[in-house]
């Protein structure tokens, strides 16, 4: 009986492994191709590198139209890091208020948060664009950064609400008896205990802002201020017909930050998806 089970498990593992190879083949093929000289890339399907070269990476790092890859990366961080900070601060505030404090219309506020999670951003897109245009913010990162300080993304509010609800109430009750007001309860008890939620929210906020091609394209206009997502299109226009290898190299480099996050924070990602049940 036990032997039969082992055989079954082995068979299933083999099946799942084949699926995994199939799924990741394009990714691995991309990485491998990025080290091939131009002539070797066309219709090459194997993963063997016959002539190893770093030429693609050198050209990719030089960038397009006078802006280097490094500058694109710096631009991206200038946009993404403030957004992450704003999201974490404002959303953890909301999470704390809804999970722990009492105020009128609380359940109504919670319903609104759930609704904003499902509402397509497109319905707010045009008025926001007009608003930021009147403020003279077009061409800057402000339209992308400022809203994040006002907890506009329902998903992160929901994530913090759910997490803080799971923290034992006795802890903050004890602190209250010891004379803490709600503000110090938050900073001394809730925030330090919510580190896993901060990490999960931080990763997702980073990833979504990093990948948010649509908003970046609308608001960022000067090529020297382009982010990675926008720069990739510049690369596409410059190299697609002539230099496949450079395209591969740029793609690979642009995915490195995501892959690093994925490998180091995998546990938080997987748990974040499983507990809040949302997109990735």
């Amino acid at each position: 009986m036990k032997k039969r089970l082992m055989i079954f498990t082995t068979l299933k593992t083999i099946f799942v492994s084949m699926g995994a190879i199939l799924m990741t083949y394009p990714l691995i093929w991309m990485v491998v191709s990025s080290f091939r000289p131009e002539l070797d890339i066309f219709r090459e399907t194997s993963l063997i590198i016959r002539h190893f070269t770093l030429e693609n990476y050198i050209r990719a790092l030089q960038g397009v139209a006078g802006t280097t890859f490094f500058e694109y990366m710096t631009n991206t961080l200038k946009l993404v890091l403030p957004v992450v900070a704003g999201t974490l601060i404002s959303s953890s505030f909301v999470g704390y208020a809804i999970a722990r404090l009492d105020f009128p219309f609380k359940s109504f506020a919670f319903t609104i948060i759930l609704l904003t999670m499902m509402l397509p951003m497109h319905v707010m897109l045009i008025p926001r664009f007009i608003m930021f245009r009147e403020l003279g913010w077009l061409g800057t990162y402000l339209p992308l950064i400022v809203p994040s300080f006002f907890a506009v993304q329902g998903f992160f509010n929901y994530l913090f609400i759910q997490f803080i609800r799971g923290i034992p109430k006795e802890l903050d009750q004890a602190a209250t008896i010891d004379g803490c007001n709600p503000i110090s309860v938050f900073f001394r008890i809730i925030a330090p205990l919510s580190v896993p939620a901060y990490i999960t929210a931080g990763i997702f906020s980073f990833l979504w802002t990093y990948d948010d091609f649509f908003s970046q394209m609308i608001y960022i206009t000067r090529p020297s201020e382009f982010t990675i997502a926008l720069a990739l299109r510049q690369y596409m226009d410059a190299f697609e017909l002539t230099a496949f290898g450079v395209m591969f190299a740029t793609s690979v480099m642009s995915l490195i930050p995501i892959l690093v996050l994925f490998i180091t924070c995998q546990k938080y990602l997987v748990e974040g998806i499983a507990t809040t049940g949302l997109k990735g």
Binding site: L27, T45, F103, M118
Partner: protein
């Protein structure tokens, strides 16, 4: 005398109101911390959500073009929509994309979640590997990779050539051929089944093992176990995944924009709903018309969600 009595009563009522107010202001002090912590959200909600929502509702009934004064034109935008060829094309393209992509994606997600749940060696690693595409899939880099995989000199044609297929097939550029372009986009969608898979996996773990044990003792076959235990127990999560994935898929933009280009691909074969919205708003600057398109999207998604909820009422099983 009577007058005085009335006066007294009024006075008393007034006093009690003041008392009531002071009691309210007492609770107000206990609310003040909550209001403090909620204030960024409240400001954000008003400035970045509520105001824009109503403003775009207003714009939907105007001919605003960003440069001239907005003029109220009634329901003209919505009438135009019905006769707008490209809009109708975008509806068909998006409908096909969502209608085929999402069910396939969920089927893969559920299938793999069940295999992983039943037990494989190295579950942790497989879970991560299968999730990876969902994490990367929305990026510009992956959309670019898709162009390189499905282009005429790409990986797919290389594989087909290696299988010995004639050049008439291996010379096709799958992304610029209107018959296949949407197919490549659907493949990209299905490829990202990782996040619903993780949710299914978490849901499967919630099903009490005793149910399966009881079924095992009664000699129930695996198919019936799936049909009568797994499906009903998992049905709320299937419903949740279905609705969320439909909402996300409906709004997908980047892959179509990169793979097919900013105008909707060959013969508008990749003209997704949001891409058309983008073209109207930011190529033609018809902000009023674009607002109408955005509002129809909200109504469509709302109606679709309600419809799915209604239809699923008899199928979905809630424990309490």
């Amino acid at each position: 005398m009577k007058q005085l009595g009335l006066f007294k009563r009024r006075w008393r009522r007034k006093m009690s109101q003041i008392n009531l107010n002071s009691r309210q202001s007492k609770t107000w002090t206990s609310y003040k911390y909550a209001i403090l912590f909620m204030s960024p959200w409240i400001v954000g909600l008003v400035v970045f959500s509520i105001y824009p929502i109503f403003y775009s509702l207003y714009l939907a009934f105007t001919n605003f073009n960003l440069f001239d004064q907005a003029e109220f034109i009634g329901i003209e935008n919505f009438v135009t929509l019905i006769g707008d060829r490209r809009y109708l094309t975008s509806l068909v393209v998006t409908g096909t994309f969502v209608g085929i992509g999402v069910p396939l994606q969920l089927a893969f997600a559920l299938g793999l979640a069940m295999i992983l749940y039943q037990g494989v060696y190295g579950l942790k690693y497989f879970r991560a590997i299968y999730y990876l595409p969902a994490l990367l899939g929305g990026s510009v880099a992956i959309a670019m990779l898709w162009r390189l995989v499905f282009g005429s000199g790409g990986l797919l044609n290389g594989l087909l050539g290696a299988l010995g297929l004639p050049e008439s097939i291996t010379n096709i550029s799958w992304i610029s051929n209107p018959d296949f372009a949407l197919g490549t986009l659907i493949v990209l969608r299905v490829w990202q089944f990782g996040s619903p898979m993780l949710i299914f996996l978490a849901g499967l773990k919630q099903i009490p093992v005793e149910m399966y044990e009881a079924a095992y003792i009664d000699g129930v076959n695996p198919f019936s176990k799936f049909l009568y235990i797994t499906m009903p127990m998992l049905s709320p999560i299937i419903l949740f995944n279905l609705i969320m994935q439909i909402i996300f898929a409906f709004q997908s933009f980047t892959p179509a924009f990169i793979i097919g280009g900013p105008t909707g691909g060959a013969v508008d074969s990749l003209l997704l709903y949001t891409l058309y919205l983008f073209i109207i708003a930011f190529t033609f600057f018809q902000m009023g018309y674009a607002s109408a398109i955005a509002w129809v999207l909200v109504i469509l998604l709302g109606a679709l969600t309600l419809l799915i909820f209604k239809l699923s009422k008899r199928i979905v099983y809630y424990e309490n």
